[in-house]
């Protein structure tokens, strides 16, 4: 462990990270976000999911620096009387959970399919890639929206509540696995012909072992590169679904649902319910994207030589 850490510190990866200010700042901000989301129950002044602590009479209070604001609610309250700051933290938490969960699912399915298709080739490859192509031709958002819509109609809003988070993870996870499948497959096909694979075969290792223990680690750079975009996409998809009312229910709002509930109010001057969660969300996705951009530049072998 120590040796790998030492190697990492001396690596080009770490070196260019330290030199790129944008990457460092983004990373720090991202860590802050993650800490906020993890520690939401601990640091939020209120628990927005506890209906007992919410008083509808508190609704639509402006941020603390306004005259009508109160120091109790730093960023104001939403239309149900929930403290905006706390709800944003909890909402961020949901976004992180769903974002990471969906991407793990996507990656798991996608990598398994891509690895198998790339390594086995032939008929297996053709069939699997056909499936991926077909799904690929549909924009993931449409698929997600449609599935959510059907689910809502089918099961009604009630039982939806408990299932919401895992359901969203599954929906978003299922809608984008082809991205991983294609990327891994391309990578695997490149690695397949290299000597170490032949060596492993000669030793007599079984196919699954070769695939997972030898080929897979070498394809992980491409996985890392697309994962950041995918997390950003997943977070935005969840926000979009919630905004449409097809995502998180009103009692467990995510950033998207907050934005939705605040939308009608901006015309009457009550801007904070939409704008604060909005900016928060943009910032979160932005740092993920910036880090992803930087990682892509560093890991790209073409630019590496340069």
């Amino acid at each position: 462990m120590k040796a790998s850490l030492k190697r990492f510190k001396a690596s080009y990866f770490f070196y260019s990270f330290k030199r790129d200010k944008v990457a460092m700042v983004s990373f720090i901000i991202l860590v802050i976000f993650l800490l906020l989301s993890l520690g939401a129950p601990l640091i939020s002044p209120y628990n927005p999911y506890d209906s007992a602590s919410i008083d509808i009479m508190n609704s639509e209070i402006p941020p603390a620096w306004y005259e009508e604001g109160s120091s109790q609610f730093l960023l104001g309250t939403d239309n149900m009387g929930r403290d905006l700051l706390s709800t944003m933290f909890y909402g961020l938490r949901i976004s992180v959970m769903i974002g990471l969960g969906a991407v793990f699912l996507q990656a798991f399915i996608g990598i398994s399919v891509g690895l198998t298709a790339g390594y086995m080739g032939g008929k297996v490859d053709a069939v699997l890639m056909r499936m991926a192509d077909i799904q690929f031709s549909f924009p993931y958002l449409m698929v997600a929206i449609f599935i959510s819509a059907v689910f809502q109609i089918l099961f009604g809003i009630g039982s939806y509540e408990q299932l919401a988070v895992p359901l969203l993870v599954v929906i978003i996870g299922l809608s984008e696995w082809p991205v991983y499948a294609r990327t891994i497959r391309a990578s695997v096909m490149g690695e397949k012909n290299k000597e170490y694979v032949e060596a492993a075969r000669v030793i007599g290792l079984s196919r699954p072992v070769i695939m997972v223990r030898h080929v897979l680690p070498n394809t992980l750079t491409s996985v890392m590169v697309i994962s950041t975009i995918q997390v950003a996409n997943a977070v935005m998809s969840e926000a979009a679904l919630s905004f449409l009312g097809l995502g998180m229910p009103v009692t467990m709002p995510s950033l998207g649902s907050l934005i939705k509930s605040g939308f009608e109010y901006i015309f009457s001057g009550i801007w904070w319910i939409t704008i604060f969660p909005g900016v928060f969300l943009i910032l979160f996705v932005l740092v993920i994207n910036l880090l992803g951009d930087w990682m892509r530049d560093v890991l790209n072998p073409k630019l590496y030589k340069g």
Binding site: M142, I145, A149, V150, I153, L244, I266, I282, L286, N289
Partner: protein
């Protein structure tokens, strides 16, 4: 080549069948065609009678075949809410969405090309860095947020542009079907914010795409040779490099148009734009299954057709114009 086309088309038909099957299955299990036809105020006996008459107690396969037959005749079921054939409803709302997509596409083309070329030619300039930074920002903003921000700044605060609706429209074909907003000043004003919002999804993507494609092209042997021939920089960049860049970009563009349709759902919601997307959401709220499934089939088919067409077109362009010359 011919075999390729046939294969592609068979695949397309196969996909459409799957879509229709999924759609039908949902409709069958969840939808209530009796309610669609006669509303809710019917007695249980009448309901049973109507179900029998409609053949709703037949086996699944038989119903599916009937469904397919109807689809080919243009009958996608009856919208419960609008009390009209679903297809009519969709076709009626289509122009609004189509204008939105068209306007957005126009903005994308007009802006991504010059910006993409510029950032490829001068990647280190301040303006380029600014554009690229802006594009990263654009990618990080979900379309509905862009829309809301635009409304907030330009509509609510500055009062420069309207925040919802289509404004005054004019009948394009004289038969009441296509109401266009492009021919009135008010309509155009109403088109600006929604089209910009919709374009904001694809714009960063295209700027980056054009930029990276062009940067790759600029490194090729034939561009170097063009320099060796002593051609003017303008000609090299705008004629040679750009034409080679355009080909892959055009194919991406075709597919992305389809994807834009998905995002119209979000945009139309924010702007209360009476198009197909808005209709979709209303149908969800009202549990109007027939309309939902009809939407699925129509949009799905358009998708599959556009994708197939683009694939076939690319097959034509590619072998003869193999983008050789890359190092």
């Amino acid at each position: 080549m011919f075999a390729f086309i046939v294969r592609r088309i068979t695949q397309a038909i196969f996909v459409m069948l799957i879509i229709s099957m999924v759609g039908f299955a949902i409709k069958n299990k969840i939808g209530d065609p009796v309610r669609d036809l006669v509303g809710e105020r019917v007695t249980p006996e009448e309901r049973a009678q109507i179900r029998d008459r409609l053949g709703l107690n037949d086996p699944f396969a038989a119903q599916y075949i009937r469904f397919l037959k109807n689809v080919t005749k243009g009958d996608l079921g009856q919208s419960f809410f609008y009390k009209k054939p679903a297809l009519d409803v969709i076709v009626g709302k289509a122009p609004a969405t189509l204008e939105l997509v068209f306007g957005a596409a126009l903005i994308i083309i007009l802006i991504s090309m010059p910006l993409g070329i510029y950032t490829a030619l001068k990647p280190q300039s301040t303006l380029s860095r600014f554009i690229m930074g802006f594009s990263t920002l654009g990618v990080s903003m979900p379309v509905f947020l862009t829309a809301i921000m635009l409304i907030y700044i330009f509509g609510v605060n500055l009062h420069w542009l309207p925040s919802y609706g289509r404004g005054d429209t004019v009948d394009l074909f004289g038969n009441g079907w296509w109401q266009t907003g492009f021919l009135t000043l008010d309509g155009l004003e109403h088109l600006i914010l929604p089209c910009v919002s919709l374009a904001s999804i694809m714009l960063p993507l295209f700027i980056r795409l054009i930029r990276s494609e062009m940067m790759e092209v600029l490194e090729t042997e034939y561009i170097k040779y063009a320099w060796a021939k002593g051609l003017s920089p303008m000609r090299i960049w705008l004629v040679h490099a750009f034409k080679n860049t355009l080909l892959p970009v055009v194919t991406v563009f075709g597919v992305q148009i389809g994807i834009m349709f998905a995002f119209t759902i979000l945009t139309e919601t924010v702007f209360q734009w009476q198009g197909m997307g808005y209709m979709f959401l209303e149908a969800v709220e009202r549990s109007d299954i027939s309309l939902l499934i009809a939407y699925l089939i129509v949009v799905g088919s358009v998708f599959v057709m556009v994708n197939t067409l683009v694939d076939i077109l690319y097959g034509f362009i590619n072998p003869t114009v193999r983008i050789a010359g890359r190092k």
